[in-house]
Every structure is written in C-alpha cells, then in structure tokens.
C-alpha cells in the first residue's frame, strides 16, 4: 500500500470517529487544523487505525506524531 492509499484509509477512519463527512486530510494536517481532534478522539483514532491496518503502534509513536504524515510513516513501516 502506498502513502496516498494509506492516507485515504486514514481519512475514512477520521471521518467515522469524528463523525464529520466533510473532513479532508493531507499529510500536513495536524491536530490544530481539525476542530474535534482532541486527545480523547486521538486515542480512539489510534485504536481504530490499528484495527484497520491490523498493526500495533508503540506508546512512543502514539505520543510523537505531529502530523497525519508522521502517522502514515509509522503505518507504512509496519505494513511493508
């Protein structure tokens, strides 16, 4: 799966958890750009992404991402 395919899937997860059909993510999107992306929703997104890709993030990763792109890097390193 390439980065743009991962981005598309991640975008769908965000739409489902944040219940916002209009949400469009880019690799540069950060929590500051998305109104409902708070720490509570973040953890739900993390768990939903883990399920979607059948992977597990480390606790370090969960705390370190600043942008969607960094999350995609973590995913792509685990789904090679």
């Amino acid at each position: 799966m390439n980065r743009s395919e991962i981005l598309k899937t991640v975008n769908e997860v965000f739409i489902d958890i944040l219940d916002d059909e209009s949400l469009v993510l880019t690799e540069e999107t950060s929590a500051n750009d998305v109104e409902d992306w708070d720490s509570l929703n973040h953890i739900q997104i993390v768990v939903a992404v883990e399920k979607q890709f059948k992977i597990r993030f480390t606790s370090q990763e969960i705390l370190s991402w600043k942008t969607v792109g960094e999350m995609i890097s973590s995913i792509s390193s685990k789904t090679l």
């Binding site: 219940d19 720490s39 509570l40 953890i43 739900q44 768990v47 480390t58 606790s59 969960i62 705390l63």
Partner: protein
C-alpha cells in the same frame, strides 16, 4: 453489543423523554471515555444519565472535603473506580514487610469512602472490583504467599464481597468477571494506558458500561422477573410428541447432558425468585408427563408458575401468561429454539426480551451467561417463595370461578394481615417493593434501605407495612404506606404502593381503613393523596377517586371523620 463509536453517536440523540439519573463518576485513571460509554448505553436502556466527572485522580479529595463539587452535585449514584494499576503502584511503594497489609489498608479506605459519602448523600454507590494483574514475581507460588500482589488482590476482592454483603447501598460491579470473560489482552491495551492513563481498552468500554448500567437499571426497577421457555429442543432434546417420553434427550442419552445442565440453571433462577413459565406447542398431558415421570428431569411441575402447552399461537399464549402473572412484558424473557417462533413473538410483542439462542444447544448456557439478563439490586428470602405465590394466584383464579358473588369468594379466603411500622426486619423487603413496584404505585418514589431507615427516625413521618395471608398461602409483605405530617390537621400520603399479585382482594379498602383509624387516633382531619402518572401506573389513576377522596388543586383529599369505612374481608393478625 455496540462499539464505543456507536455509543458515542447516541449522545447526539434527544434524551428529554428518558428517566434522568444524576451520576457522579470518580476514578484514579482517565475516565472520560467510560463516561461517554455509560451515557450512550444509558440511552439505549431508557436513561438520561447526567454524569458529573471528577477531575483525574481526585477521589479522596472530592469525598473527604464536605464542600467539594461532588456534594454540591448531589448525585443519586456515585461510581468509584479505583484501578488495579494504581493499587499495584501503591504496593510497589510499600516496604516488603508491609506488602501483606495492602488488602486491609485498601479495604479500610474503601469503607471510609463509603461511610463518608453515605453520611451526606442519599445515593447508591457502585464500586468496581479489581482485575487481576499477575506480576509473576512468585509464579503460581503467589497463591500460598500472602505478601504477593496476586494474593493481596484476590484477598481484597473477597473481602470486598463480604463488606458489600452488609452494606445495602454499596454495590460491586464485577470488572474482574469481565476480564475473566474477555481476557486481559482485550481489557487492557498497554500503549493506550501509557499514553493516556486509561486502564480500560476502547474495545472493552461498552462491556464495562453495560455491566454498570445494568446495575443502575436494576436499582431503578428495570429487572427481569419471569422466564418463559419452550420445551422441545429447548429444555430437552427431541420432540416429545413424536419421539415419546423415553426418547427425549436428557441425562446420559444423546446430547442430554447439555439440557440437564441447562435445566439446573433454570432451577437456580427459580430458586432465586425468577418466575418460570412454560409456553410450548404440545398436547398438555404429553408435555406434563415428562415433568412427572422422566427420571432425568431436573425441573418439576411445582417449579413452574404457569404451564401453557397447547396448539394456539405463542403470541396469544404469552399474552395469557402475562395476564395471569400480571407483570409487564418488559420484565419477561422468552427462550425458544425456533427462529420462526422468536421472530413471530418479537414482531407482535417487541417489549419481551428474546435471546437469539445459538443453533447448537451445547452453546445455550455460555451464550445466556454472557447476556447477564437477571441483574438485580436486592435479594431477600421472600424472592425464593415467589413461584409459590404465583401458583396459588393461579389456583385462586380457578377457585373464584366457582363463586357467583365476589364478596362470598373474598370471605371464603379467610384473609389476615399483619400491620406494623417499618423496622429492621421488614425494611429490606419494603425497599425492594419500592424499587420494583411500577403499576400500583401512586407517586413512584424509590427508597433505598438506608433512606427508609432514616424515615423511621423522623418524627413527622408514619410508616405502615402490610402482609396478606389467606387459606392458599402467605403472600408476605405486599403493601407499604408512608405518611408525612403536612400540617396540624393534614397527613400527606407520600407513598402508597402495593404488589399487583394481591389486586382485587379488598386490600386497598383495608389499607384505607387502617389509615383513617390512625389519622383519627392522632387527631388529624384530612388525608391528602397525590397521583403522579408514569408510563406504567395507569391502573391507579382513579385510585383515590374510587376510595371516595375528592379532588382539590390536583390533590385528592379525604375527610377522615366523614369517610365511611368500607366493607372488608381481611382481619388484623
């Protein structure tokens, strides 16, 4: 079971028609998502759980400070969640000599939280017990090592049960059982714990919320009272009408073991006070023969309150059973192996709970265990007698048909009643009635045992409990009244509730006479009643009118000196 995101979507629904309950949630780990799950689950059960959440790790501060936000909020339910992870941190900091004091220390803290809260709030407390963390410091040897963390955790859970058994307002939500059922790998998500301090995984939150709200629902009278079941391929293998008595699978025949174990479960429910009823397409005599003659039948005819075996459709039969027992459809569970029958009943009587029994009878029990259908907020000795009451009620109906004159019939029952104020012996039963009675309940104010105890000490309050016994048997305590002195000449009827199994026996008149005589003896002039309508108490809409009260400003008044005493057929015992 819904997922957390599905439950979260419930939060956008309109809660305004639902029963509001003020809940305080205090935890030593992050509880925001538990709060979301609780409110979302509450919606599906008909509750508007108005949750106030304490700041992170503030349990002691909120409870021991009398001016805290907790007491200002005045919750009806307080949920306390102290996690095993925090307990482990506490243990880790102890000196090795003190390891084995952990359970007792923690229990002391819990008891003091409970007493402090109960002293200031009229509320119930829900406390999660401890999930096991096996730190593997001793391996299995931990089981014989009191200083091990595992030993202390298990001891604490055991001591908690002993403590709760004597604390009517303190309930345990069995988180440990949830971990046993789903496994620690499902319950606990280490990376989520480290990054957010949540000790429950996203996936387990709906289960924990279900366990918690089931307790809350039971506290507010939403409980299952009756289990109706089919016979062929449900409580035995095969079809008795085709296969014959000797060929049905029970005991050691075929897969009989699974049905025998299933019947033991039904019997235990009956012993606990769940009413059992049969609803089967069968010839009655053939179906009953199994109960009377088959050596491997665990259930006997005397375990069944209503036995319906005929060739009519099950919807009508269930209506008949409901009518005989006089309980709500929403307190009934229906078990049938046949999907067609289940769907047919579901379509016509949506209020009944109908588990989707698995295809293989070997799976019945594990599946039914997982549904936790019979949550309760109380258990008294009377519960075990319930089947007998309903059987005698059915007999009474048959007997009544042979009397033309109703008064002659009532006279023939030789009814006696013990009337006494609330005391420590009858308070558990009165509290239970107060939580369970939905139909014959004029104001539907729910009282806990602790609240009733407080009432008995209050000078302007007068309490009455009534039992009813007749020639068929003892119905036990079936009615309770609470009077409040409103002014020098008026007694307000704060509570009047009665078990529906003694309807049409003249009990209302007997109670009224008792109240009038009491009011006269204490020099009061008026009794003042009120009817607060709910979805379920229609049958007492005209209660006061029928008893001769007159309406005034939305209340009902009786002049005790002008009131004619009623003909009654009940004597004081």
């Amino acid at each position: 079971m819904k997922t957390l995101s599905q439950l979260k979507k419930n939060l956008k629904n309109n809660f305004s028609a639902l029963k509001p309950v003020k809940v305080a949630l205090l935890g030593d780990s992050a509880t925001q998502l538990l709060s979301v799950a609780l409110r979302g689950t509450g919606f599906d059960l008909g509750f508007d759980l108005q949750i106030w959440e304490a700041d992170f790790n503030q349990i002691e501060r909120q409870v021991f400070d009398p001016a805290s936000a907790l007491y200002e909020f005045k919750p009806e339910i307080v949920i306390l969640f102290q996690s095993s992870h925090k307990l482990l941190q506490k243990y880790n900091k102890l000196s090795p000599e003190a390891y084995e004091t952990l359970a007792n220390q923690q229990l002391e803290l819990i008891a003091s939280l409970n007493t402090t809260i109960s002293a200031s709030l009229n509320c119930r407390i829900i406390y999660y017990n401890y999930t096991e963390i096996n730190d593997s410091v001793f391996g299995s040897y931990a089981n014989k090592t009191p200083s091990s963390f595992l030993f202390q955790t298990r001891k604490l859970n055991y001591e908690l049960m002993l403590y709760a058994a004597n604390q009517p307002g303190f309930s345990i939500c069995d988180l440990s059982a949830i971990q046993n059922q789903f496994g620690k790998a499902t319950l606990f998500h280490p990376s989520v714990y480290i990054s957010t301090d949540m000790v429950l995984s996203i996936d387990i939150l709906p289960q924990v919320a279900a366990g918690t709200t089931a307790l809350i629902a039971a506290m507010y009278g939403k409980i299952k009272k009756c289990l109706v079941f089919d016979l062929d391929n449900t409580i035995w293998g095969g079809i008795i009408g085709d296969d014959g008595l000797e060929q049905i699978q029970l005991g050691s025949l075929g897969i009989g073991k699974t049905f025998t174990e299933f019947q033991h479960w039904l019997k235990k429910l009956k012993n606990r006070g769940i009413i059992l009823a049969v609803c089967s397409k069968n010839t009655e005599s053939v179906a009953k023969e199994a109960f009377e003659k088959h050596p491997d039948m665990v259930l006997k005819l005397e375990d069944i309150a209503v036995f319906t075996a005929n060739w009519e459709n099950k919807v009508d039969n269930l209506r008949e059973i409901q009518n005989t027992l006089n309980i709500g459809f929403d307190s009934m569970v229906f078990l049938d192996d046949n999907p067609f029958e289940r769907n047919m009943v579901r379509e016509h009587i949506p209020e009944i709970t109908i588990p989707e029994l698995p295809e293989d009878p070997a799976d019945y029990l594990e599946y039914l265990y997982s549904l936790n259908l019979f949550e309760t907020a109380s258990f008294t000795n009377q519960d075990a007698e319930r089947t007998k009451h309903y059987q005698t009620a059915a007999k009474r109906i048959t007997d009544q048909q042979s009397f033309v004159n109703e008064n002659d019939f009532l006279k023939s029952l030789n009814m006696v009643s013990i009337v006494e104020p609330f005391n420590k012996f009858n308070i558990p039963r009165v509290a239970q009635l107060s939580q369970r009675s939905n139909q014959f309940n004029l104001r539907t104010i729910r009282y806990t045992e602790a609240a009733l105890e407080k009432l008995t000490d209050s000078p302007g309050t007068f309490t009455f409990s009534f039992t009813l016994e007749d020639k068929f048997g003892d119905n036990g305590l079936i009615c309770a009244v609470i009077l409040e002195k409103e002014s020098a000449d008026t007694l307000f009827i704060d509570t009047w509730l009665m078990s529906c199994r003694v309807l049409k026996r003249g009990m209302e008149n007997f109670v009224l006479n008792t109240l009038i005589n009491f009011a006269k003896a204490k020099d009061f002039k008026y009794l003042k009643g009120e009817y607060l309508p709910t979805a379920k108490n229609q049958i007492v809409k005209d209660h006061y009118k029928n008893l001769g009260f007159f309406e005034k400003d939305a209340y009902w008044i009786a002049d005790v000196n002008a009131c004619k005493t009623k003909d009654i057929f009940i004597n004081y015992k």
